[in-house]
Symmetry: C2
Subunit: 185 residues, 2 copies
C-alpha cells in the first residue's frame, strides 16, 4: 500500500479502468487502436505499471474466471484508485501544465466525466483559458523581440507553437458553451 503518485501512464490506466475491469492486454489494445496511441503499448511499460498500481492499492486483480485456459488477469479500480484519479483530474491548472504537459491536461479533462467530476469541466476550461491567454502573451512578446533575428525555419517553428496554443484557446472558449452557465447572483 505504498502511496507514491502514479505517472501519466498510471493515471491513463486508472482512467481507462473507470468504465469497468479490463486486462493488461485490453488496455494495450486501446493504446494500439485509438487516438491514445501517444502512449506506448509495450508490455514492458504496462504490466509493471499495473503491478505498481496494485501494490499501491489503487487497483485489484483477479484471474478472469470466464476462461479456464490461458491466464487472463482482470484489473479493477478500487475506491482508493477512483479517489486518486478524481484528485488528479481536479487539480488546478498551472503555467507548468500548459508549457510542458498539455497531453496530461487533456487526459485529465477527458476523464472528468468518468470520474464523476463533470461539474468541474466548465471551471477547468475557464482556468485553461486564462492560463493559455497568459502564456500566449509571453509567446507573442518573445516572438516580437526575437523573431526578427531568428532564422526562417526557427521562426516558423515558433509560429507553429503559437498557432497550436491559439487552437487550444479557441477550443477552451468554444467548449464552455457545452456546459450549463453558472448564474451570477
Amino acid at each position: 500500500m505504498k502511496t507514491s503518485t502514479p505517472t501519466l501512464l498510471g493515471h491513463a490506466l486508472l482512467g481507462l479502468l473507470l468504465p469497468g475491469p479490463a486486462s493488461g492486454y485490453d488496455l494495450r489494445q486501446i493504446f494500439v487502436r485509438t487516438p491514445m496511441a501517444s502512449f506506448s503499448d509495450s508490455p514492458g511499460a504496462i504490466y509493471p505499471a499495473l503491478a505498481r498500481l496494485e501494490k499501491g492499492g489503487l487497483v485489484t486483480s483477479r484471474v478472469d474466471p470466464s476462461t479456464g485456459l490461458r491466464l487472463r488477469r482482470l484489473y479493477a479500480l478500487t475506491e482508493a484508485g477512483r479517489n486518486r484519479l478524481r484528485a488528479w483530474v481536479a487539480q488546478p491548472i498551472t503555467r507548468e501544465d500548459v508549457v510542458s504537459d498539455m497531453d496530461g491536461l487533456l487526459l485529465r479533462f477527458a476523464f472528468l466525466d468518468g470520474a464523476g467530476a463533470t461539474a468541474r469541466a466548465p471551471t477547468f476550461l475557464r482556468e485553461l483559458q486564462v492560463t493559455l491567454e497568459a502564456y500566449l502573451s509571453e509567446l507573442r512578446a518573445y516572438l516580437a523581440k526575437h523573431g526578427p533575428v531568428t532564422p526562417l525555419t526557427g521562426r516558423l517553428a515558433l509560429e507553429n507553437g503559437l498557432r497550436g496554443y491559439e487552437a487550444h484557446l479557441r477550443w477552451a472558449m468554444r467548449s464552455q458553451a457545452s456546459f450549463p452557465a453558472i448564474e451570477t447572483p
Copy 2:
C-alpha cells in the same frame, strides 16, 4: 567514440550549438527563458547529456579561457556532430512522428536552417502535410464511429486533438509559401 543515437534532448543541444560554442549553463538558460521550456533545465539531465555527446565525438569541450575564475566549460560541435544533426533533421516524416513526436518534428524543422539544410524545408512541409492529412482522416473516422458513444469530456478532448492537428496542417500549407516554388519541368 561510441555512436549511439542521441535522445531528443541530445539533438536539441546539438542544434543549440549550431550558432557557436556555449556552456552547459548557457544551454540551460535557453530552456529556462525561451519557448524551448518543454525541455527540462535540470543539471542532472543536461550535464550528463553533454558528456554523452562528447564521448560520442559529436561535441568537444574546453575550459573557457576568458575567465580564470570559476571553471566554465565551453562545448562546440564537431564535424561529426554537425553531420549527425543534419542526418537527424533530414529524416523522412513518418506517421509515428506525427502521432507521438510532434515536438521532435518541429525541432527538426527549426534546425533546418542552422544545419545548412534550408533546401529541405519545402519538402519537409509537403511531407508533413501529406502525413497530417492521412492521420486527420483516421482521427475523423474514429470520431465519427466512436464519438457518439463517448462521454462529453472525452469527446471534447478528442476534438481538441483534431483541432490541434488541423492547426498543424494549416501551418504546414501556409508555410510552404515562404520558400521558392520548385519548377515542374
